[in-house]
Each structure stands twice: as structure tokens, then as C-alpha cells.
């Protein structure tokens, strides 16, 4: 009997309507207005690579050991260096990193003995050309500069 009454007076439908009605506050919206509001990525997120420099002298921390290039499963890192005759150490000349082939596995930063190469939390890696995906040393040290939008 009560089931019949529920059907006749459309109680289930009204319950459904009430459920949607009370959840329609705009403040409940979970939408992120992307360029205005940026998502907080996870703490261990692996994004754009960065070649760290010394904070005081702004010299590169990289010792050109080539371990990252060897660790990379995609072999997309190319490190070239020159032996400095005075200090007997290798000086970094070029460092290229092809982000178009990178799968952000993080093996390169694990391999780095001096924490010079690091995957940061930046995720805006889009470029207008394929060549733009291949980052040189300057790009790696400065980081990507995405367009700033005004709202």
C-alpha cells in the first residue's frame, strides 16, 4: 500500500529533485578556472626538467658525469663537456633534453650524484614547434616561461 502511494505521488522523483535542488549552490562547484587558478600538483609530481645552478654564484651544479644520459631509458639527454686543464675537471659545454620523448620516469634525477638535474612541478610544456620541445642548457636553467594571462 505504501509502495503504491509512493508511486502515485511520485515520492521517489520528488526526492531526486530535492537532492539536486539542495546541491546547486555555486559555491559547491569544483571547477578550476585553469589559467586563473592553478592546480596544486602532488608533492612528488614529476614535470619540467630543470638544471640547478648554485644559488650564490649561479654556476651550474652539473659535473658532466653523463650518468643521467646513461640512466635515461629514452636516451634523450646529451651532455657534452670539455676538460679544464687547470682544475682537471670536466666543464659543461652543452646539455640538451628532448622533452617530446621524455616520459617523466625520473631515473635521470635519481642518477644525478649532485642533485643538479631535477624534475620540477611545472607542467606547461606545450610549444608551437617540435624543435621547441628540445630544451637547451639555458632553457633548462631558466625554466619554461608560459604566457601570463590577465583576468
Amino acid at each position: 500500500m505504501s509502495q503504491l502511494l509512493r508511486t502515485v505521488f511520485l515520492v521517489d522523483l520528488l526526492q531526486g529533485l530535492w537532492a539536486t535542488f539542495k546541491n546547486q549552490k555555486p559555491s559547491l562547484a569544483v571547477t578550476e578556472q585553469y589559467p586563473q587558478e592553478r592546480p596544486a600538483v602532488a608533492e612528488r609530481f614529476r614535470g619540467a626538467p630543470r638544471l640547478n645552478t648554485h644559488p650564490d654564484t649561479s654556476e651550474t651544479l652539473c659535473i658532466s658525469c653523463n650518468l643521467c644520459a646513461l640512466a635515461c631509458p629514452e636516451q634523450l639527454i646529451v651532455v657534452t663537456s670539455q676538460r679544464n686543464p687547470e682544475t682537471k675537471r670536466k666543464d659543461l659545454t652543452t646539455f640538451t633534453y628532448d622533452t617530446s620523448r621524455c616520459m617523466f620516469c625520473g631515473l635521470c634525477e635519481d642518477a644525478c650524484p649532485v642533485d643538479a638535474l631535477e624534475l620540477t612541478q611545472d607542467f606547461e610544456l606545450a610549444t608551437f614547434t617540435r624543435e621547441g620541445q628540445i630544451w637547451d642548457r639555458q632553457m633548462l636553467e631558466e625554466g619554461p616561461l608560459p604566457t601570463e594571462y590577465k583576468f
Binding site: L13, L17, Q24, P26, L28, V30, T31, Q33, F151
Partner: protein, 392 residues
């Protein structure tokens, strides 16, 4: 000047042109409201980018639709393909001819008003059928078959519900129905010792099906049929179908308001002391409240263009509020306000249904129409007729 205005064709002609010119804009804003309300129901934001809080989105959409390439499929029947959206839009808009938007703002008050609307909206089905047939596409044809079956079968309970209401009101003229409600001091929905509530509910359900809106939107079930009868349409032709859909929503809500919810009358039209608070204080508060809300929202905006648009909207609201404070203007437009508010509530109801109910299966739809709505509406007709005879 006086002579021109006294000509019986001039004022209706002006109103006709006004409606044809303004309704596309209004339909655009109904779409915006629909998108915003639906977004709220689905915990989203909806359009936010074009204009402040998406306020200019309808204009952007209109420009997009007009500038888009107009594709006619290779195998299409060109003449019918051209004709279908015209038929849809024409029939949907011509129903406005007898819709009383207020006591002064109406085009014609004919003594067969309701009949005219039913006739014209039935021709609207033809647009859907022609569009689906002429597209020469399976999806379109399936969609148009479905919409034809659906619209034809839901027209029956819709008609019976209307007949019941007409019986109680005692007239077919749309203005006459409103005046009958004024005379009896009661909305059509509560007439006849509360028995009219059944036809009202039947009408509300059948009108959702008649306009093919969710949960009865089988003709354009996206997951099965791409978009139904207007799958192959693009650009301006698609815009015409879209316009027709929203015009028919507005018209059917307008009929429901006129017949069941007192038309352009304010609530409790016979209670004298409510005239001041409802006809003057309420619109004043409403528009000033909206304006104040816009001013409050201004602080969230940075771009000067967007701030200017929102400030303009706020100014418009204050202006409208001020217009309602002038007794002479108030008299002329208060009916329109109540009509639009009531239609707005019904349109909100349509959107609310869409945000809540899942789509019916095709056989469920037909079962519901033929096995439930039609018998209920016939029963309600008989019961109301008996009650009228015996009790009144």
C-alpha cells in the same frame, strides 16, 4: 499619429516585430540560464569566459552560428532540407500571436486561442519529420521518427488537460481564460475544489515530453542518435531549430501559466491590500536586489571591459526598478513582469528536470504516455466535468 495608432493592425504589427526581433536574444539568454543552472546542479561553473560570469555568451554563440559554414549533405533533399528549419521556427513563433503576455501586451485575442496554439504546435512536428527525412541520414531519420511518435502521442494528454481547463474557465480565448481566473479569484490549477490539480500535473509532464526535453529527450538522445533530427544541420539552419526548440518551451510554459497559473495576474489578484506590496514593492526589491548583487560581484573582476559590462547590467536593473516605481509605467508593465516570472519558474522546472532525471527508454516513454497519462487525463476530464455539473 492618433489615426495610425487607432488602426487595428498597427499596434499588433509593432508587437509582432518586437517579438520577432527580441525573441532570438531572449532564447539566447534562456540557453545561458539553462547552461548556468544545469552547471550549478552538476557542481560546475558553466560559461565564465565571455563577458563577466559568461553574460555575453549568447551573443558569442549567435555570431558563431551565423559565421559557420552551412553544410548541406550530398544526398540531402535540398528543398526540404531548406524548408524544415523554417517550418519549425515559423510554427513555434506564430504561437506567440495569441499568447497574452500582459493585459496590454498581446498581438491578438482570438476566440479560438487555445485551439490555434494546439494546431500550430502540431505543425511543428512537421519540421522535425521533414528535417530528419531530408537529411538522408540514419540518425536523423531515427530521431525524427521518434520525435514524431512522441509528439503525436503526448499531444493527446496535453489536449485533454487543456480541455479540462477550458471547461472550467468556460472560454477558449487566452485573455478570456485569464479574466475568468480573475473573476473566480483562483488560479486554474486550484479550481474545481482542487480537482484541477491532476490535469495541471498531467499538462506539466506532457509539456516536457511535447518539447522533447529531458527526461523525454529521446528524439535527440546523444548517446544513441548523435543529435536526432538536426544531426546534419549546421550554422544558421541549426540555429533556427535551436530557436524553435526554445520558442516552443517558452510558448508551452506560457500556455501553462495562462491556463493554470493565472497568466499575467499577480498572485491573489482579488486581495486589494496586496496590490501595493506585490505590484510595487516586490519588483522594486527584486530589481534593486539583482542590481546590488551585480555590484557585489564587481569586486571579483579585474578587466575593465568586464567590469563595464557588469556595471551596465547593474545600471539596467536599477533603471527597471525605478520604472516600476512610476505608477503610470508600472500599470503597463507589471502584467508582463508577472507573466515572465511565472514562465521563468516553469522554465527553471524544465531545467531542473533535465538536471535530475535520467532519460527514459523508448518503450517506457510510450507506455507512460499511452497507458498512464492518457487514461489519467481522460479520467480527470470526466471527474472535473461531473464536479462542475454537480457541485458548482
Amino acid at each position: 499619429m492618433e489615426e495610425i495608432l487607432n488602426n487595428p493592425y498597427v499596434v499588433p504589427l509593432i508587437f509582432t516585430l518586437l517579438i520577432i526581433a527580441l525573441f532570438p536574444l531572449m532564447a539566447g539568454y534562456i540557453v545561458l540560464i539553462e547552461r548556468k543552472v544545469l552547471a550549478d546542479l552538476q557542481v560546475r561553473l558553466g560559461p565564465m569566459r565571455v563577458g563577466p560570469y559568461g553574460l555575453l555568451q549568447p551573443l558569442a554563440d549567435a555570431f558563431k552560428l551565423m559565421l559557420k559554414e552551412d553544410i548541406i549533405p550530398a544526398g540531402a533533399d535540398k528543398a526540404l532540407f531548406w524548408l524544415a528549419p523554417v517550418v519549425s521556427t515559423f510554427t513555434a513563433l506564430s504561437a506567440f500571436a495569441v499568447l497574452p503576455l500582459s493585459d496590454v501586451f498581446y498581438i491578438a485575442d482570438v476566440n479560438i486561442g487555445v485551439l490555434f496554439i494546439l494546431a500550430v504546435s502540431s505543425i511543428g512536428v512537421l519540421g522535425a519529420i521533414l528535417g530528419g527525412w531530408a537529411s538522408n541520414s540514419k540518425y536523423s531519420l531515427m530521431g525524427s521518427l521518434r520525435s514524431a511518435a512522441q509528439m503525436v502521442s503526448y499531444e493527446v494528454p496535453l489536449g485533454f488537460a487543456l480541455v479540462t481547463a477550458l471547461m472550467v474557465a468556460g472560454t477558449l480565448s487566452m485573455q478570456g481564460i485569464v479574466y475568468a481566473q480573475l473573476e473566480r479569484g483562483m488560479w486554474g490549477a486550484f479550481e474545481n475544489f482542487g480537482l484541477m490539480i491532476v490535469p495541471t500535473v498531467v499538462f506539466l509532464i506532457a509539456s516536457v515530453a511535447e518539447t522533447a526535453r529531458a527526461p523525454f529527450d529521446l528524439p535527440e538522445a546523444e548517446s544513441e542518435l548523435v543529435a536526432g533530427f538536426h544531426t546534419e544541420y549546421s550554422g544558421f539552419r541549426f540555429a533556427l531549430f535551436f530557436l524553435a526548440e526554445y520558442a516552443s518551451i517558452f510558448v508551452i510554459s506560457g500556455i501553462a501559466v495562462t491556463v493554470f497559473f493565472g497568466g499575467w495576474l499577480r498572485p491573489f489578484p482579488n486581495v486589494e491590500w496586496l496590490a501595493m506590496p506585490l505590484n510595487v514593492a516586490f519588483p522594486l526589491l527584486l530589481f534593486i536586489g539583482i542590481g546590488a548583487g551585480c555590484v557585489y560581484l564587481l569586486r571579483g573582476l579585474i578587466l575593465p571591459e568586464q567590469r563595464a559590462v557588469l556595471a551596465g547590467v547593474a545600471g539596467l536593473c536599477f533603471l527597471l526598478g525605478a520604472a516600476f516605481a512610476v505608477p503610470m509605467v508600472n500599470e503597463k508593465i507589471i502584467g508582463l513582469l508577472w507573466f515572465v516570472l511565472k514562465v521563468g519558474v516553469l522554465v527553471y522546472l524544465f531545467i531542473w528536470y533535465r538536471g535530475t532525471f535520467p532519460r527514459l527508454r523508448y518503450d517506457q516513454l510510450m507506455d507512460f504516455g499511452w497507458k498512464w497519462l492518457i487514461p489519467i487525463s481522460i479520467g480527470a476530464l470526466i471527474v472535473n466535468a461531473v464536479a462542475l455539473l454537480v457541485l458548482r
